[in-house]
Symmetry: C2
Subunit: 173 residues, 2 copies
Amino acid sequence: MSLFIDMDEVIADTYYKHIEIYNHEFQENLTLEDCWGNEVWKAVPEDRQASVRNHANTIGFFRNLKPIQDSQRVLKELSQKYELYIASAAMQFPNSLLEKSEWLDEYFPFIDWKKRILCGDKHILKGDILIDDRSYNLEHFDGRSLLYTSGHNIHTNGFERVSTWQEVADKLL
Amino acid sequence: MSLFIDMDEVIADTYYKHIEIYNHEFQENLTLEDCWGNEVWKAVPEDRQASVRNHANTIGFFRNLKPIQDSQRVLKELSQKYELYIASAAMQFPNSLLEKSEWLDEYFPFIDWKKRILCGDKHILKGDILIDDRSYNLEHFDGRSLLYTSGHNIHTNGFERVSTWQEVADKLL
Protein backbone atom coordinates (compact mmCIF):
# COMPACT_ATOMS: atom_id res chain seq x y z
CA MET A 1 0.00 0.00 0.00
CA SER A 2 1.31 3.42 -0.88
CA LEU A 3 1.05 6.50 1.31
CA PHE A 4 1.83 10.09 0.27
CA ILE A 5 2.71 12.66 2.91
CA ASP A 6 2.85 16.39 2.32
CA MET A 7 5.62 18.51 3.86
CA ASP A 8 4.61 22.08 4.76
CA GLU A 9 2.30 22.20 7.79
CA VAL A 10 2.18 18.41 7.89
CA ILE A 11 5.72 17.38 8.80
CA ALA A 12 7.44 20.81 8.56
CA ASP A 13 6.16 23.68 10.68
CA THR A 14 5.82 26.59 8.24
CA TYR A 15 2.89 28.13 10.15
CA TYR A 16 4.95 28.70 13.27
CA LYS A 17 7.93 29.91 11.22
CA HIS A 18 5.80 32.63 9.57
CA ILE A 19 4.80 33.93 13.00
CA GLU A 20 8.37 33.79 14.30
CA ILE A 21 9.78 35.76 11.34
CA TYR A 22 6.93 38.29 11.50
CA ASN A 23 7.46 38.89 15.23
CA HIS A 24 11.18 39.30 14.73
CA GLU A 25 10.82 41.67 11.79
CA PHE A 26 8.12 43.91 13.28
CA GLN A 27 8.92 43.46 16.99
CA GLU A 28 5.44 42.08 17.61
CA ASN A 29 3.95 39.35 19.79
CA LEU A 30 1.63 37.64 17.34
CA THR A 31 0.57 34.22 18.70
CA LEU A 32 -0.71 31.00 17.17
CA GLU A 33 -4.11 31.81 18.69
CA ASP A 34 -4.22 35.21 16.94
CA CYS A 35 -3.85 33.44 13.59
CA TRP A 36 -6.02 30.39 14.21
CA GLY A 37 -8.53 29.85 11.40
CA ASN A 38 -6.56 31.99 8.95
CA GLU A 39 -3.49 31.96 6.81
CA VAL A 40 -0.87 33.78 8.88
CA TRP A 41 -0.59 36.59 6.31
CA LYS A 42 -4.30 37.32 6.68
CA ALA A 43 -3.91 37.78 10.45
CA VAL A 44 -1.53 40.74 10.19
CA PRO A 45 -2.22 44.40 9.23
CA GLU A 46 -2.76 44.90 5.53
CA ASP A 47 0.42 46.88 4.95
CA ARG A 48 2.49 43.96 6.30
CA GLN A 49 0.78 41.13 4.42
CA ALA A 50 3.09 41.29 1.40
CA SER A 51 6.04 40.85 3.70
CA VAL A 52 4.62 37.65 5.21
CA ARG A 53 3.65 36.33 1.77
CA ASN A 54 7.23 36.78 0.68
CA HIS A 55 8.72 34.58 3.45
CA ALA A 56 8.64 31.50 1.22
CA ASN A 57 10.92 33.22 -1.28
CA THR A 58 13.56 33.90 1.37
CA ILE A 59 16.77 31.86 1.21
CA GLY A 60 16.82 29.45 4.15
CA PHE A 61 13.09 29.55 4.91
CA PHE A 62 12.45 25.89 4.07
CA ARG A 63 15.80 24.69 5.44
CA ASN A 64 15.13 26.02 8.93
CA LEU A 65 11.74 24.58 9.82
CA LYS A 66 10.99 22.48 12.90
CA PRO A 67 9.59 19.02 12.28
CA ILE A 68 6.00 18.74 13.48
CA GLN A 69 5.76 16.92 16.80
CA ASP A 70 6.02 13.11 16.56
CA SER A 71 6.28 13.19 12.77
CA GLN A 72 9.76 11.63 12.73
CA ARG A 73 8.83 8.73 15.00
CA VAL A 74 5.52 7.98 13.29
CA LEU A 75 6.85 8.28 9.73
CA LYS A 76 9.65 5.90 10.61
CA GLU A 77 7.07 3.33 11.72
CA LEU A 78 4.80 4.02 8.75
CA SER A 79 7.73 3.56 6.37
CA GLN A 80 8.06 -0.02 7.61
CA LYS A 81 4.44 -0.83 6.80
CA TYR A 82 3.72 1.31 3.70
CA GLU A 83 5.43 2.44 0.52
CA LEU A 84 5.86 5.88 2.01
CA TYR A 85 6.42 8.90 -0.25
CA ILE A 86 6.92 12.56 0.52
CA ALA A 87 4.89 14.68 -1.91
CA SER A 88 5.38 18.44 -1.70
CA ALA A 89 4.04 21.12 -4.04
CA ALA A 90 7.42 22.84 -4.10
CA MET A 91 7.93 23.89 -7.71
CA GLN A 92 6.47 27.35 -7.12
CA PHE A 93 9.55 28.18 -5.02
CA PRO A 94 12.68 27.07 -6.91
CA ASN A 95 14.94 27.96 -4.01
CA SER A 96 13.01 25.56 -1.81
CA LEU A 97 13.96 22.51 -3.89
CA LEU A 98 17.47 21.91 -2.58
CA GLU A 99 16.48 23.13 0.88
CA LYS A 100 13.68 20.58 1.07
CA SER A 101 15.99 17.82 -0.08
CA GLU A 102 18.55 18.76 2.59
CA TRP A 103 15.87 19.14 5.26
CA LEU A 104 14.62 15.62 4.52
CA ASP A 105 18.21 14.31 4.66
CA GLU A 106 18.51 15.81 8.12
CA TYR A 107 15.17 14.91 9.70
CA PHE A 108 13.90 11.99 7.61
CA PRO A 109 17.04 10.23 6.35
CA PHE A 110 15.17 6.91 6.16
CA ILE A 111 13.10 8.25 3.22
CA ASP A 112 15.46 7.90 0.28
CA TRP A 113 15.49 9.89 -2.96
CA LYS A 114 13.31 7.39 -4.81
CA LYS A 115 10.49 8.17 -2.40
CA ARG A 116 10.57 11.97 -2.66
CA ILE A 117 8.31 13.96 -4.97
CA LEU A 118 8.51 17.72 -5.52
CA CYS A 119 5.64 18.73 -7.76
CA GLY A 120 2.96 21.28 -8.54
CA ASP A 121 -0.55 19.85 -9.01
CA LYS A 122 -1.04 16.73 -6.91
CA HIS A 123 -3.73 15.41 -9.29
CA ILE A 124 -1.07 13.23 -10.82
CA LEU A 125 -0.46 11.05 -7.76
CA LYS A 126 -1.52 7.42 -7.99
CA GLY A 127 -1.68 5.65 -4.64
CA ASP A 128 -3.76 4.60 -1.68
CA ILE A 129 -3.54 7.29 0.99
CA LEU A 130 -2.71 11.03 0.94
CA ILE A 131 -2.13 13.12 4.07
CA ASP A 132 -2.22 16.85 3.29
CA ASP A 133 -3.31 20.13 4.86
CA ARG A 134 -4.83 21.57 1.68
CA SER A 135 -8.32 20.51 0.62
CA TYR A 136 -7.57 21.27 -3.04
CA ASN A 137 -4.88 18.60 -2.98
CA LEU A 138 -7.14 16.03 -1.33
CA GLU A 139 -10.18 16.65 -3.53
CA HIS A 140 -8.67 15.12 -6.65
CA PHE A 141 -7.05 12.12 -5.00
CA ASP A 142 -8.58 8.73 -5.83
CA GLY A 143 -7.61 6.99 -2.59
CA ARG A 144 -8.21 7.74 1.08
CA SER A 145 -7.67 11.41 1.94
CA LEU A 146 -6.65 12.62 5.39
CA LEU A 147 -6.75 16.34 6.15
CA TYR A 148 -3.94 17.20 8.55
CA THR A 149 -5.04 20.03 10.83
CA SER A 150 -3.25 23.34 10.41
CA GLY A 151 -4.16 26.79 11.68
CA HIS A 152 -5.48 27.74 8.25
CA ASN A 153 -7.84 24.76 7.74
CA ILE A 154 -9.69 24.38 11.04
CA HIS A 155 -12.97 25.50 9.42
CA THR A 156 -12.67 23.11 6.48
CA ASN A 157 -15.28 20.35 6.48
CA GLY A 158 -15.92 17.22 4.46
CA PHE A 159 -12.65 15.37 5.05
CA GLU A 160 -11.42 12.69 7.41
CA ARG A 161 -9.28 14.78 9.74
CA VAL A 162 -6.15 14.08 11.77
CA SER A 163 -4.71 16.63 14.17
CA THR A 164 -1.59 14.94 15.53
CA TRP A 165 0.85 12.31 14.31
CA GLN A 166 -0.25 10.09 17.17
CA GLU A 167 -3.76 10.15 15.69
CA VAL A 168 -2.31 9.11 12.33
CA ALA A 169 -0.47 6.27 14.06
CA ASP A 170 -3.69 5.13 15.73
CA LYS A 171 -5.49 5.06 12.37
CA LEU A 172 -2.81 3.60 10.13
CA LEU A 173 -0.51 1.46 12.25
CA MET B 1 -5.87 13.75 -21.38
CA SER B 2 -2.65 13.93 -19.43
CA LEU B 3 0.81 13.42 -20.86
CA PHE B 4 4.04 13.03 -18.86
CA ILE B 5 7.37 13.82 -20.50
CA ASP B 6 10.74 12.88 -19.06
CA MET B 7 13.68 15.34 -19.26
CA ASP B 8 17.11 13.70 -19.57
CA GLU B 9 17.68 12.18 -23.02
CA VAL B 10 14.09 13.01 -24.00
CA ILE B 11 14.02 16.81 -24.08
CA ALA B 12 17.50 17.53 -22.61
CA ASP B 13 20.57 16.09 -24.30
CA THR B 14 22.57 14.50 -21.48
CA TYR B 15 24.01 11.78 -23.73
CA TYR B 16 25.81 14.27 -25.93
CA LYS B 17 26.92 16.33 -22.90
CA HIS B 18 28.62 13.28 -21.35
CA ILE B 19 30.64 12.79 -24.54
CA GLU B 20 31.51 16.47 -24.79
CA ILE B 21 32.78 16.65 -21.19
CA TYR B 22 34.69 13.38 -21.58
CA ASN B 23 36.41 14.56 -24.76
CA HIS B 24 37.33 17.86 -23.17
CA GLU B 25 38.68 16.27 -20.00
CA PHE B 26 40.71 13.51 -21.65
CA GLN B 27 41.49 15.20 -24.99
CA GLU B 28 39.72 12.41 -26.85
CA ASN B 29 37.49 12.16 -29.91
CA LEU B 30 34.77 9.86 -28.66
CA THR B 31 31.73 10.02 -30.97
CA LEU B 32 28.05 9.26 -30.64
CA GLU B 33 28.62 6.20 -32.84
CA ASP B 34 31.32 4.86 -30.47
CA CYS B 35 28.78 4.87 -27.63
CA TRP B 36 25.69 3.74 -29.50
CA GLY B 37 23.93 0.88 -27.72
CA ASN B 38 25.61 1.65 -24.39
CA GLU B 39 25.53 4.06 -21.54
CA VAL B 40 28.31 6.55 -22.32
CA TRP B 41 30.28 5.54 -19.21
CA LYS B 42 30.40 1.95 -20.45
CA ALA B 43 31.96 3.05 -23.74
CA VAL B 44 35.12 4.49 -22.18
CA PRO B 45 38.18 2.73 -20.67
CA GLU B 46 37.51 1.26 -17.24
CA ASP B 47 39.77 3.65 -15.36
CA ARG B 48 37.77 6.62 -16.69
CA GLN B 49 34.27 5.28 -16.04
CA ALA B 50 33.99 6.74 -12.54
CA SER B 51 34.76 10.15 -13.97
CA VAL B 52 31.91 9.94 -16.48
CA ARG B 53 29.53 8.59 -13.85
CA ASN B 54 30.29 11.61 -11.73
CA HIS B 55 29.27 14.18 -14.39
CA ALA B 56 25.72 14.36 -13.02
CA ASN B 57 27.05 15.54 -9.66
CA THR B 58 28.91 18.44 -11.25
CA ILE B 59 27.53 21.95 -10.65
CA GLY B 60 26.10 23.24 -13.92
CA PHE B 61 25.72 19.87 -15.65
CA PHE B 62 21.91 19.98 -15.87
CA ARG B 63 21.78 23.73 -16.47
CA ASN B 64 23.89 23.57 -19.63
CA LEU B 65 22.17 20.93 -21.73
CA LYS B 66 20.93 21.42 -25.27
CA PRO B 67 17.24 20.84 -25.86
CA ILE B 68 16.67 17.78 -28.06
CA GLN B 69 15.86 18.76 -31.63
CA ASP B 70 12.25 19.89 -32.20
CA SER B 71 11.29 19.28 -28.56
CA GLN B 72 10.44 22.92 -27.90
CA ARG B 73 8.18 23.27 -30.94
CA VAL B 74 6.39 19.96 -30.43
CA LEU B 75 5.90 20.33 -26.67
CA LYS B 76 4.42 23.76 -27.25
CA GLU B 77 1.85 22.22 -29.59
CA LEU B 78 1.25 19.23 -27.30
CA SER B 79 0.67 21.58 -24.36
CA GLN B 80 -2.28 23.05 -26.22
CA LYS B 81 -3.94 19.66 -26.67
CA TYR B 82 -2.92 17.76 -23.50
CA GLU B 83 -2.45 18.37 -19.79
CA LEU B 84 1.29 18.28 -20.30
CA TYR B 85 3.58 17.54 -17.36
CA ILE B 86 7.36 17.28 -17.12
CA ALA B 87 8.31 14.28 -14.94
CA SER B 88 11.99 13.88 -14.15
CA ALA B 89 13.62 11.41 -11.73
CA ALA B 90 15.83 14.16 -10.35
CA MET B 91 15.90 13.57 -6.60
CA GLN B 92 19.08 11.48 -6.79
CA PHE B 93 21.00 14.65 -7.67
CA PRO B 94 19.98 17.44 -5.28
CA ASN B 95 22.05 20.00 -7.17
CA SER B 96 20.05 19.28 -10.29
CA LEU B 97 16.77 20.46 -8.77
CA LEU B 98 17.20 24.21 -9.14
CA GLU B 99 19.15 23.76 -12.38
CA LYS B 100 16.29 21.79 -13.91
CA SER B 101 13.78 24.39 -12.81
CA GLU B 102 15.88 27.18 -14.37
CA TRP B 103 16.51 25.15 -17.53
CA LEU B 104 12.76 24.67 -17.97
CA ASP B 105 12.22 28.41 -17.39
CA GLU B 106 14.65 29.11 -20.21
CA TYR B 107 13.65 26.54 -22.82
CA PHE B 108 10.08 25.57 -21.87
CA PRO B 109 8.64 28.69 -20.21
CA PHE B 110 5.12 27.71 -21.32
CA ILE B 111 5.18 24.77 -18.84
CA ASP B 112 4.44 26.41 -15.52
CA TRP B 113 5.40 25.22 -12.03
CA LYS B 114 2.13 23.37 -11.50
CA LYS B 115 3.05 21.08 -14.35
CA ARG B 116 6.56 20.14 -13.25
CA ILE B 117 7.38 17.00 -11.27
CA LEU B 118 10.80 16.13 -9.87
CA CYS B 119 10.62 12.68 -8.35
CA GLY B 120 12.32 9.34 -7.81
CA ASP B 121 10.22 6.28 -8.69
CA LYS B 122 7.77 7.06 -11.47
CA HIS B 123 5.39 4.31 -10.31
CA ILE B 124 3.37 7.03 -8.62
CA LEU B 125 2.28 8.83 -11.80
CA LYS B 126 -1.40 8.68 -12.69
CA GLY B 127 -2.17 9.71 -16.25
CA ASP B 128 -2.69 8.69 -19.84
CA ILE B 129 0.66 8.82 -21.67
CA LEU B 130 4.29 8.67 -20.56
CA ILE B 131 7.27 9.40 -22.83
CA ASP B 132 10.53 8.21 -21.30
CA ASP B 133 13.87 6.72 -22.34
CA ARG B 134 14.06 4.23 -19.46
CA SER B 135 12.14 0.96 -19.70
CA TYR B 136 11.97 0.65 -15.90
CA ASN B 137 9.95 3.86 -15.79
CA LEU B 138 7.59 2.75 -18.56
CA GLU B 139 7.00 -0.77 -17.22
CA HIS B 140 4.94 0.33 -14.22
CA PHE B 141 2.88 2.97 -15.99
CA ASP B 142 -0.83 2.18 -16.40
CA GLY B 143 -1.37 4.25 -19.54
CA ARG B 144 0.25 4.33 -22.96
CA SER B 145 4.04 4.13 -22.80
CA LEU B 146 6.34 5.57 -25.46
CA LEU B 147 10.04 4.72 -25.36
CA TYR B 148 12.04 7.71 -26.61
CA THR B 149 15.15 6.48 -28.41
CA SER B 150 18.47 7.26 -26.77
CA GLY B 151 21.91 5.82 -27.42
CA HIS B 152 21.60 3.57 -24.39
CA ASN B 153 18.22 1.97 -25.26
CA ILE B 154 18.47 1.07 -28.95
CA HIS B 155 18.48 -2.67 -28.10
CA THR B 156 15.44 -2.45 -25.80
CA ASN B 157 12.37 -4.23 -27.17
CA GLY B 158 8.75 -4.51 -26.15
CA PHE B 159 7.75 -0.85 -26.20
CA GLU B 160 6.11 1.51 -28.66
CA ARG B 161 9.13 3.51 -29.77
CA VAL B 162 9.61 7.10 -30.92
CA SER B 163 12.94 8.37 -32.21
CA THR B 164 12.30 12.03 -32.96
CA TRP B 165 9.92 14.71 -31.72
CA GLN B 166 8.43 14.88 -35.20
CA GLU B 167 7.44 11.21 -34.80
CA VAL B 168 5.77 12.08 -31.49
CA ALA B 169 3.92 14.91 -33.22
CA ASP B 170 2.73 12.53 -35.95
CA LYS B 171 1.39 10.11 -33.34
CA LEU B 172 -0.14 12.47 -30.82
CA LEU B 173 -1.15 15.65 -32.64
